[in-house]
Point group: C2
Chain length 294, copies 2
């Protein structure tokens, strides 16, 4: 369980740093409280773990990537809050808890998301985050995150998802939506770690390809779990896709073909790492995600 322990350690390091972002903050009528509510709601910290491990694999000190790992999680959390809003997916539960707007109201949730996005950039760009790092790496890593989160990445994917609701989608459409909506951020998590760790073009390409493949596998598995899973393990309502008549990988491909594609993507992810030394943890993580039940 060496790798399992390392994954938990990355999660603890991220949690600790994230908590530090919000200590001793003034209570602006509850804004920080709303931000912290979703940030500390028990996320798996998968993206930060990728950032920290990719930094290490590229020969960098893991600790130096912590602010960047936090930034990824801050952006991820903001996106979940906004996606859950009544005007978007209108979800009542997330990770087994009432969604942000159910607790803090719509205005509170919009602002908490907004401020979490800003905090992601603030954390990466504060002077102490760059200590001991070439400033060019800080800029390149932060820009990588900005590109992945914005209109040509995550926000663009969410926009397509909302706009295409109720329309007939092909497998190509669904792959494109997820490549932008979730894939871009997972890829950026790995790339940022590589940049901070001092990786070159070869490492950046390999880790980027690895992350893209596990990102796709992750999303296909997510759609499978919505059919197979139950509310206790998922922390959200299982079967919600079908109830919403949502077009997913499962409705387009069927469970069996989904399983096959998850396995194929996982193989390709591991194959992308074949020229990198020290890729054991990342290979283990790809397998773990392919088999997850929640």
């Amino acid at each position: 369980m060496e790798y399992e322990e390392r994954l938990l350690e990355y999660g603890r390091k991220t949690d600790e740093a994230l908590r530090g972002c919000f200590s001793n903050k003034p209570a602006h009528c509850g804004l920080f409280e709303a931000m912290e509510y979703s940030l500390m709601a028990g996320g798996k910290r998968l993206r930060p773990a990728l950032t920290l491990e990719c930094c290490r694999v590229c020969g960098g000190e893991m600790e130096k990537a912590i602010p960047f790992a936090c930034a990824v999680e801050l952006i991820h959390t903001y996106s979940l809050i906004h996606d859950d809003l009544p005007a978007m997916d209108n979800d009542d539960f997330r990770r087994g808890k009432p969604t942000n707007h159910r607790v803090f109201g719509e205005a509170g949730a919009i602002l908490a998301g907004d401020a979490l996005q800003t905090a992601a950039f603030e954390v990466m760009l504060r002077p102490e985050s760059g200590r001991g790092l070439p400033p060019e790496r800080v800029i390149a890593a932060a820009n990588t995150l900005a590109k992945a989160a914005g209109a040509e990445g995550m926000a663009g994917g969410q926009s397509m998802d909302v706009a295409c609701e109720g329309r007939g989608l092909t497998i190509t459409d669904v792959k494109q939506i997820h490549r932008l909506k979730t894939g871009a951020m997972i890829r950026a998590s790995a790339e940022m770690g590589c940049i901070i760790g001092g990786g070159g073009e070869k490492e950046l390409a390999a880790l980027g390809r690895y992350a893209e493949k596990i990102g796709l596998a992750f999303q296909i598995r997510d759609d499978m779990l919505d059919v197979e899973g139950n509310v206790e393990t998922l922390g959200k309502t299982a079967g919600s896709d079908r109830a919403n008549e949502k077009i997913t990988f499962v409705t387009l491909l069927g469970l069996e073909e989904c399983r096959r594609q998850v396995d194929q993507c996982t193989l390709e992810a591991k194959d992308a790492l074949r020229e990198l030394p020290e890729a054991g943890f990342l290979c283990w993580l790809a397998d773990k995600l392919a088999k997850r039940n929640k």
Copy 2:
């Protein structure tokens, strides 16, 4: 009219660069269209002008500050879109045009705001923006904007404003809300220009103080115009504050005392610049803002 011409030139430079941000973009189900709709809705480009002029005053090349001037306007535009949402101020018109959510729907407006915020950081951190600049300046300027836009600045102020609606507010509360909600960004606009232009501690403090004072004067004047103005010159509904029973500088101080405080702040703004050479334009701008009718 030399200064008037310079102000227009700054606006043109900003518009041109902002248009460049969105040329040749894929049509992700209308996201870029929604972003551009509000970004190009005829804003006064006051904040970018401050960034560009403060860079010049500190001895920098104005052109180098353009991506940072764009970033300020991108953040400002995102905040207007989100502030207008039904869950916030529920405004139907902005700058004489239907608000973003009236045209693109609530989900579209939330996402357009989100993606505009991300674009602000992407623009500052892209490789070409840093060309010919020490990377430390890029990081410091981008961090200044992040701090001003986030939970301890603009978003915090908006949160206080929303949460305090309908409560009894003192003049101290109203000043604090505006210092965060609008003042922080105006101050950051000036400071970013100073940082990019290579200004030192003395310039940063003087320009920061100047911007804080014109920011306060600007807001008091805004409240006065809501009472004095009419819909044709304002492009929004005059008297909306009174209709919403909003506590403003005018309801707390009266028009006459507001006028006096605008003049006093403007004097203090100009006084802050007394040790800076080349402050003519900024002094002229302070006077112009104090006298504005829209």
